[in-house]
Amino acid sequence: MERLPDEWEVAPEPGWIEPALAEEFPGLSIVSTELESTTGRSPEALRERLRSLSDRIGGAQAIQLRQQPIPWAYRVFFRHIGLDPDTTRTPVEQLIFERIHDGSFKSRNRVEDAITIGMVEVGVALRAFDADRVEGRVGLRPSAEGEGFEGRVSPLPEGTIVVADEKRPLGIIFDRTAEGRGVRRGTKRVLLVAIGVRGVPDIALEEALWVAGSALRA
C-alpha cells in the first residue's frame, strides 16, 4: 500500500437519502469524498497494483463471490429494486466478470483504475464525478415525473432511483452517469462516491473510499 501524505486523509462526508427511500430501504447510504486529482493514463505504480490485483482474483473467487456478505448484499438490493443481478451485474461482479473474461483488469485511466482497486478490494460500489460539476452534497432519491439528465433523450421513468446533487440527477444508481458530470479530460477535482446498502457496514464504505483515494494519489 502506498504511503499517503501526512496532511491528506479521506474524510467521508455522508450524503442524504430521500426520506421515503430511506424508509423503504433501511441501510441505504451514500458517502463521498473529494480529491484533487486529474484523469489521464495511470502511472506505472497504479498499473502494477492492477496487475497484482489481477493475480489475486481467479475463477474460484468469481464463483464464490455472490456468497460473500458484501457482494450478496448488493445482489439482494438489486433484486429489491427490480434488477436481475445476473443480467445487470452489480459493480463488483461486473469487474470480476471482466477480469475473468479479459484475463486481467485492463487499465483504462487513473480514476477508473483507482475505483476498480477500491471496489475489488472491498466489494463496495464506487462512483466518480467531476467535483466542480456537482452542486452541494450528493444523495439518493427517486426521480420526479418528467425528470431527465444530460445525455439522455427521454425522461427517466418516474421513481427511478438516481444519484443526485442538490439541484439535479447526476446519474442512475449503479448505472449511467449524466453527460458532463463524470470525470473527464480536464477534471481537476474528483468526487468519489460510495453507495452502501443494507448489510454493508459503514466502515466498508470508508475503507473503499480510502483504498480508491490512496490509489488515486499514488
Partner: protein, 352 residues
C-alpha cells in the same frame, strides 16, 4: 452473512416521510393502527424472503460449478425503483421457481454423475468389457481435464492379446500466456524465433463424453466422439483385422518350418494378410480423420507401381524409380488433402 438482511426490520424506528411519496404518510396525529398495517410491512417481509432466497440461489450457484447449462437468471422488473407488493411477490416467486428448477437440474446431473462414477468402478474392475470407453471429469461433475480411458497395453499387440487397462490422463495441458510484465519487450526477430520454437498451444478441444445417460448429453457425446474416438470397422465390433493379423503371423512363423514350396507360399500369404489388415486399419483411421497415415498409404501406391514397372516391363530402372516417386508424391498430396478435410483442418495427427 449479515443477519440484519434476514431479520424483520423494526419499522417503528424508521423515519416517517414528510412528503407525499410512497407510502403515504398519515396526517399529523393520525398515526393509527391502520397506518401501521399498511403495505410497508408486507414489502419488508417480502424483501426479507427475497434476501433469503437469493442466498439459497447463491449457494446453489457455488455448488453447481463446474456443471454447465444451468440457468440461474430471474428476470428483473425494469428498475431501479421501489417495487410494489405485487412486483416483490413476482420477484420472490421467480426466485422460488428458479431455486426449484436449479435443484431439479442438479439432481439430474447428480444421477448421471453417480452412474458415471459407477461406470468408472466397473471399467476399472473389468476393462475388457468397456473397450475404448472414456469418462471425463466433466461427466462426474468435477473440474479439470482428467479422464479414465480403457486402452490396450502396448498398442496393437495388447489389442490382439486382450491386455486392456484403464489409463488415467495426467490432467490439463499447461497454459501458455503472456510473458511476465517485467521482461523487456522482445524484438520482432525474437518473437519470430520464439514462435518457431514454441508454437502456440491451442486451447483444449471439447472433450468427448463416452458415457452419458440423457439424450441431450448423448447427442453431444456422439458429435464429439466422431473426432476423438477410433473409427468403427464397417463390419462392426467383429475383430476381423485382428484375426487376419493373427493368422498372418501364424502363417509367417509356420512358413519357416515347412519345406518349400509350401513354406514360401505360407510366408507370402502371411505377409499379404498382415499387410492387408494393416492397410485396412490405416485407411479407416486416415479417412475418418482420426490418425494420419499419409506416408504409409502413399508408399502403398508408389511401391507397387515401381515394382510392377520394374518386374513386368523393360522400362529403364531410373524411370521406374521416377514413376514410383511421382506416384508416391502425388498420392501423398491427395492423402494429405483428404485427411485435412476429414479431420477439420489438421495436416497430420499422431496419437499414442
Amino acid at each position: 452473512m449479515p443477519e440484519q438482511l434476514l431479520e424483520p426490520p423494526d419499522l417503528e424506528e424508521a423515519p416517517l416521510s414528510s412528503q407525499e411519496l410512497l407510502p403515504p404518510a398519515p396526517p399529523e396525529g393520525l398515526d393509527t393502527a391502520l397506518y401501521r398495517h399498511d403495505e410497508r410491512e408486507a414489502r419488508a417481509d417480502l424483501r426479507r424472503q427475497i434476501a433469503a432466497m437469493e442466498l439459497a440461489l447463491a449457494r446453489l450457484f457455488g455448488s453447481a460449478f463446474p456443471r454447465k447449462g444451468i440457468d440461474f437468471r430471474v428476470s428483473g422488473l425494469g428498475g431501479p425503483r421501489v417495487l410494489s407488493v405485487d412486483e416483490l411477490e413476482q420477484v420472490r416467486d421467480g426466485l422460488a421457481g428458479r431455486i426449484q428448477d436449479v435443484r431439479a437440474d442438479l439432481h439430474e446431473h447428480a444421477v448421471v454423475e453417480e452412474a458415471n462414477r459407477g461406470l468408472i468402478e466397473r471399467m476399472t474392475a473389468d476393462p475388457d468389457a468397456y473397450k475404448w470407453v472414456r469418462v471425463y471429469n466433466e461427466d462426474i461433475g468435477e473440474p479439470g481435464c482428467k479422464n479414465w480411458h480403457v486402452k490396450p497395453r502396448w498398442g496393437p499387440l495388447g489389442m490382439l492379446m486382450g491386455w486392456w487397462r484403464v489409463k488415467i490422463s495426467s490432467g490439463c495441458p499447461l497454459a501458455e500466456g503472456l510473458p511476465p510484465p517485467d521482461q523487456p519487450m522482445p524484438t520482432k526477430r525474437q518473437r519470430r524465433k520464439r514462435r518457431r520454437r514454441h508454437p502456440r498451444v491451442q486451447p483444449p478441444r471439447p472433450q468427448p463424453s463416452a458415457v452419458v445417460l440423457d439424450e441431450k448429453r448423448g447427442r453431444g457425446a456422439r458429435r464429439r466422439a466422431r473426432g476423438d474416438q477410433p473409427p468403427q470397422a464397417p463390419w462392426g465390433s467383429f475383430p476381423l483385422s485382428e484375426i487376419a493379423v493373427f493368422v498372418g503371423i501364424l502363417l509367417l512363423v509356420a512358413g519357416f518350418f515347412v519345406a518349400p514350396p509350401q513354406g514360401f507360399v505360407m510366408i507370402a500369404v502371411g505377409l499379404v494378410l498382415g499387410s492387408l489388415a494393416g492397410l485396412e486399419l490405416t485407411i479407416r483411421e486416415h479417412f475418418a480423420g482420426y490418425r494420419s497415415h499419409t506416408l504409409l498409404l502413399a508408399a502403398a501406391v508408389g511401391v507397387p507401381i515401381f515394382g510392377v514397372l520394374f518386374v513386368a516391363t523393360k522400362v529403364p530402372t531410373p524411370i521406374c524409380i521416377a514413376a514410383g516417386l511421382a506416384a508416391f508424391a502425388g498420392s501423398a498430396w491427395l492423402f494429405t488433402n483428404a485427411f485435412r478435410r476429414r479431420s477439420g483442418g489438421a495436416l497430420f495427427r499422431l496419437r499414442g
